[in-house]
Amino acid sequence: MTMRMTLPNAETRAAMLASGMEHGMEASYVRLETMI
């Protein structure tokens, strides 16, 4: 069985993907900077 999820458009999908993830990246980097 194959399941496919259809999303309205690329922009909506991008917004879903991006919302909040940048906070993870920022959080990590603050720590990683100090490990150099």
Partner: protein, 154 residues
């Protein structure tokens, strides 16, 4: 919570990436539009993203991000605007999965770093994070999963 780290040999995985070199202060503004451009380019080319978005940091320097924002793809992608064909490299990497909200990521990297040092591993300059389960998947932060990868020299 950090899963027990493992050493794995990765194989090359094709991806679409946008290479960014920006001050840390600009990252929050740049991230969303870059993801949008990435996904639009894939949609226009009929290429499927595979799995979650990753950030591959190429060089760590204070206050500056030098990284590729990308996603693995089902097929080759052609260069379009800032989007370039790229890859996650074949490498011997230390890998772990952190579970929980992003506030815990700094401590997770700290703990992961201690583990690598205790095991006598020499770290390469680059590293990547894969945001496998995050705000795009569920609002429940306890269920978020971020895969941490650090290539090793020895």
């Amino acid at each position: 919570m950090l899963a027990t780290p493992q050493i794995v040999q990765t194989s090359v995985q094709q991806a679409a990436v946008i290479h960014l070199t920006i001050p840390r202060s600009e990252m929050m503004q740049v991230f969303g539009p870059a993801i949008g451009e990435l996904m639009s380019a894939l949609a226009a080319q009929g290429v499927e993203p595979v799995g979650a978005v990753f950030a591959h940091h190429l060089k760590m320097s204070p206050g500056m991000f030098d990284f590729e924002l990308g996603v693995k793809t089902s097929g080759p992608v052609k260069a379009a605007g800032r989007v370039k064909p790229g890859q996650l490299p074949a490498a011997k990497v230390a890998r772990t999965v952190y579970s929980g909200p992003y506030e815990g990521l700094p401590a997770a990297w700290g703990e992961f770093n201690v583990w690598m040092k205790e095991n006598g591993l020499t770290q390469a300059e680059d590293l990547w994070e894969l945001y496998s389960v995050g705000p795009q998947s569920t609002p429940d932060q306890a269920n978020w999963r971020t895969e941490l990868n650090r290539p090793l020299l020895s």
